[in-house]
Symmetry: C2
Subunit: 662 residues, 2 copies
């Protein structure tokens, strides 16, 4: 027998190693042809598409098959051709778990015969032989059918055998219930399955929609020069809940090292009177599974976490894989670190920058196994203490393959765990981390200011292959990033950037101080002046000029409008002013349609004509509709072309809900 | 040990199952991530690109590795980063054979150390420990080096050990020959290979550049009503050579069946006095390996083939897998055909169309093995008779997997064999056949008439993934396709469409009669009136109004200008007239730059301003240059914006060669 085991075979499975007719290609969702899983949310429909075709003009059928990865039996939903050999089907992965899916396609012999028979009868061709073929097909189906279908087939056969007239026979076999039964019972001729199976990481809803607040526990106190504690932080939770935050992300809470402790403003040798950087993890009080004594105990953490959960808030921890020289690992596992020729351990550096208070981990250690097991233990420890979200510090300085292993292993038993990648690095590494498994990713949002920049970046995120695996979390600021527009644009800039983050991306966050419009930078940098990374901070959270009421309103709008809880429904709309960004978000049923217009210039009022194609709001061309500005309560009647004027001194944006088609 | 055998691993190979740092992604050329081979030409450079990156800031190196598939040892060429983690290298597959290639990347420890060391010395940091690290690295390299390099390393070590000054040490290790030796000798740390290997079908030049003439042997005679023979056809060869054709493709030459033989104009039951359709293959005189007695013998074929070869012309045969009812296979292998309930064999039909003179092959026969072996025997038979090109009839009505098997098997022993797919069907099937192995493909060219249609189609062919595997062969006409523009546009249309086919695509062809501007169609169809598919035809090849001189000139231009022998160098240029298509083709060194302007309206003169960006001709902005119209010999001085007027009554096109920059 000739061997036709060629490359095409890899996608076409035939138990008898016979030629297969059907080709299934370009299946979506998939990431790099199935090398990585796509991401979806439990309870949300997953639309599957593929190119499916064969030689000849036979009638094809196709179905999407899916199951949880750990199950064995597939569910099935039929697909339909919609355009030029492109087929579509959908299924709903209901659980927060890993799923697999594939597509099967086959030739429908009865439908093929019926299509040809119909054409021949209509062309008045002799069809006696064709009727006999049809009878044979129905007989075969009858022999495979259960009782109800068999009765139908037998009645059909009896009628068919009595006629020798093509038109009569056609009328008999064209009855709708026969085709329905035939699709149910008929042989799946030449069944072909797309292989290998494609994988889907199905996350819980928080992976898609969340409102984050980042804070340092030690900055939640009230006495200057004294560290805030978990008890202090706990007292802030009701206010954060009222402002609409549902994730509180804590800068590292672990013991801070003493050796080479940094002082205020990142000064070398801050000494023991300085609190040090929380990212210099580990002291005699413990390492990654301990709590810095100045802020509390593990019991205090548990209490804080429970209090947050009662308010509907999740606690996210920072996972920074690095050590202070005083970390227990340094003593217990010196071979997890790189050494100098003199035997001393190397501190972190990215020449000419130096981080004397931090030892990086050497992932190439000969004890890689021990290292990985310990890092896994850290994650599992905090999971046992109720943590379901990890914000991972600088993941791009550790092997991508490590993250792939860690995240897959953790999610195998705990699919609810969310990992956010804090990588601000080159685009391909950003993507690689997301493909490798990170649930969400930090982004370039803080550096995208102009209409062109925002449109280009959001288009990349929502309309390229990234949409299948890269979920952005838009932070307005971080302890490391105070963007120039915030440094110079004042309160209006803070409101403007908040609206952008909160309405463009369903996951977004602010770092504490944003609500107070803190905007003093180390000159010429994006670093905060007197950064709380290196000192205790006490703030008056009700300081005049704060934008808490505005933040609360925006977060309420997000909570009340499901269109803002999705990402891929973003659609940019045109205006005639480059300073006004304008876009829509709508639910698939158009019951919730939001139009957002943002003045990107925090210093000047701008106006424009904003264009809304009628299909965006679901009206006929030329129609008009009512909108309410959810920020101000103002009501307008809008149509296809609308005058918009936004004065940053008043409000920098409209968030309009379409309320009634007129 | 934790198992980190996850999906990312599939691309990262580590013998010790340790974490790998390096990611190699998005390698080109590849087709669907390596599922199918890309196509190249022997002797032409193959540029390889990939995304290559790792965690951290270490210095990476990468190399492309390649070999013939049947060899074992790889050649290697280094790659260089050129943009945002994108790397490029190239190699030249010199043989007409199947090749494999991949990419290897590794961390360069010495270069990484040197980069960091340089920054620290320049920042005046203490570097005593760093010098010791450098010494250790050089010692290690020295121990691996051959004598010449070892001497260099030892001299360097001696000098390094004598200094405790950073700047001096830096001067010593920065000497260029050290880095060169280090790259040669240094350890390939964390070597990572992209897997699986990617494949490349490397064809001979004819797969890229050929000028085809299609004819029926039986139409080469001179006596009306009598079949022409191979001897008659042989007499036409010198003229075809003079016109510039280098492939003569013959409609099927096999015995024609008698049963239900078609008559003139595709009439049913033409009777034995009709010659029948050459695609109704097989009679008592034999099947696919026999010659129709009316046109000659296998000896005549051999003689014809030898005569063609002597003139530099290859003979392409039609491979049509179908039978007349009189084909020996019908008697010898009745189970290769589909049967009616009464036991008779079904003729071909695509209801309501019927082809009573043809039995299709049933690829689902239980004797699939026997069928495939016989089809393979047919191809090998003709290969033994000198045929190296097969034009495959209607491949889309046979399983794609069959072609994949057949072509791979044939090319494994005979890589010189070219297969041209005659599929005019839906786009995804067209692509699937090319991916499965067809060397060249028929196209939609005959149905692309407007500037928009031509630009869109050629852009798809040259700038989408199709460019890696789909090689078009532009036929101006075929026995089945007499396009409307030719039916109505007269001689000017024939010249215009010839220039388009011949200059847009390096492979193109005409079907005989085109040179005589034959344009009578069956009304309302694209079928030729009195088609020679069903009757003997005798033509006066020197009939007035023929465009042979024009064809010969265009083919000479193609032969003399390497820019026109390539496809992917096509670049559309803008004009301000939608009736004038304008494009350039150039060799990479710009020694041969061709500008083609074609008036797409065969009835009216049009003029335009044609824009030539300076880089297209390799001049500075504002410069001018001389061009010669190779069709007319006219000379012009051109610059960035040029007046063009094309009167179809004179010539429908300019084919301008850039001859001198002024």
């Amino acid at each position: 027998m000739p061997s036709y085991q060629t490359r095409t075979d890899s996608q076409i499975v035939s138990p008898e190693r016979r030629l297969n007719h059907i080709i299934i290609e370009d299946v979506t969702p998939s990431v790099e042809g199935g090398r990585y899983p796509a991401k979806r949310i439990a309870g949300e429909s997953c639309v599957v598409e593929a190119d499916i075709f064969r030689d000849g003009h036979q009638v094809l059928r196709a179905a999407v098959k899916w199951r949880r990865k750990r199950d064995e039996v597939f569910d099935e939903a039929s697909m339909a051709a919609f355009d030029n050999d492109r087929w579509r089907g959908e299924f709903c992965p209901t659980e927060n778990a890993r799923y697999v899916f594939t597509i099967e396609a086959w030739t429908d012999l009865f439908a093929t015969w019926l299509a040809d028979f119909t054409k021949k009868v209509k062309a008045a061709r002799p069809v006696a032989s064709d009727v006999l073929e049809g009878i044979a097909l129905v007989e075969k189906m009858s022999s495979r059918a259960d009782r109800a279908d068999r009765e139908l087939f037998e009645r059909t056969l009896a009628r068919l055998r009595k006629t020798n007239d093509g038109a009569t026979a056609l009328a008999i076999v064209s009855e709708a219930n026969i085709s329905v039964a035939a699709e149910r019972v008929g042989e799946r001729s030449g069944l072909t399955r797309f292989e290998p199976l494609l994988e889907l990481v199905v996350d819980r809803e928080k992976a898609r929609f969340g409102t984050w607040y980042e804070m340092f526990v030690r900055s939640q106190g009230v006495a200057p020069g004294k560290p805030g504690t978990f008890r202090d932080a706990e007292r802030r939770l009701p206010e954060l809940r009222d402002l609409g935050f549902d994730v509180v992300y804590l800068a590292p809470i672990h013991p801070i090292g003493h050796t080479n402790r940094k002082g205020p403003g990142n000064a070398l040798n801050g000494g023991s009177n300085s609190p040090g950087s929380p990212w210099a993890i580990g002291s005699e009080a413990g390492g990654h599974t301990a709590i810095e004594p100045a802020i509390g105990t593990i019991g205090d953490f548990d209490r804080f976490n429970a209090a947050a959960n009662r308010l509907g808030i999740e606690v996210a921890l920072d996972f920074a894989i690095q050590c202070s020289p005083d970390h227990p690992w340094v003593r217990e596992h010196p071979n997890w670190f790189q050494h100098r020729p003199d035997g001393s351990i190397k501190y972190a550096e990215n020449p000419p920058k130096e981080y004397q208070d931090i030892y990086p981990i050497d992932f190439d250690t000969s004890d890689q196994r021990g290292l990985l097991e310990e890092l896994m233990r850290v994650v599992r420890f905090w999971r046992e203490h109720g943590v379901k979200i990890f914000r991972v510090d600088n993941p791009h300085t550790k092997p991508v393959q490590f993250w792939n292993w860690l995240i897959n292993e953790v999610q195998a038993t705990n699919p609810e765990v969310i990992f956010l990648a804090e990588a601000f690095t080159r685009p391909k590494m950003m993507k690689a981390l997301a493909k490798a498994g990170f649930t969400q990713s930090y982004t370039y949002f803080t550096w995208r200011n102009t209409k062109f920049e925002l449109t280009e970046y959001l288009t990349e995120l929502t309309q390229t292959p990234m949409k299948e695996y890269f979920r952005p979390n838009f932070f307005t600021n971080t302890p490391d990033i105070l963007a120039p527009v915030l440094q110079t644009g004042g309160r209006a800039a803070f409101k403007m950037r908040l609206v952008l983050a909160a309405t463009l991306s369903p996951s977004y966050g602010i770092y504490s101080g944003y609500e107070l419009c803190e905007n003093e930078a180390v000159p010429g940098t994006e670093e905060y002046l007197n950064s709380e990374k290196y000192e205790y901070k006490v703030r008056d959270w009700n300081r005049p000029g704060n934008i808490k009421e505005f933040i609360g309103r925006v977060n309420t709008i997000r909570r009340d409008n499901p269109a803002l809880q999705q990402f891929l429904n973003l659609r940019f709309l045109s205006t005639d002013n480059d300073q006004i960004l304008f876009f829509s978000k709508a639910t698939p049923d158009r019951n919730n349609v939001i139009l957002v217009a943002v003045n990107l210039d925090p210093s000047n009022a701008h106006y424009c004509t904003a264009h809304v194609p009628p299909e965006v709001v679901g009206i006929a061309p030329g129609g008009s509709y009512r909108v309410t500005d959810l920020l101000t309560g103002a009501k307008y009647v809008w149509s296809e072309h609308n005058y918009v004027r936004l004065d940053p001194g008043v409000e920098p944006a409209h968030i309009l809900r379409v309320e009634g088609r007129l």
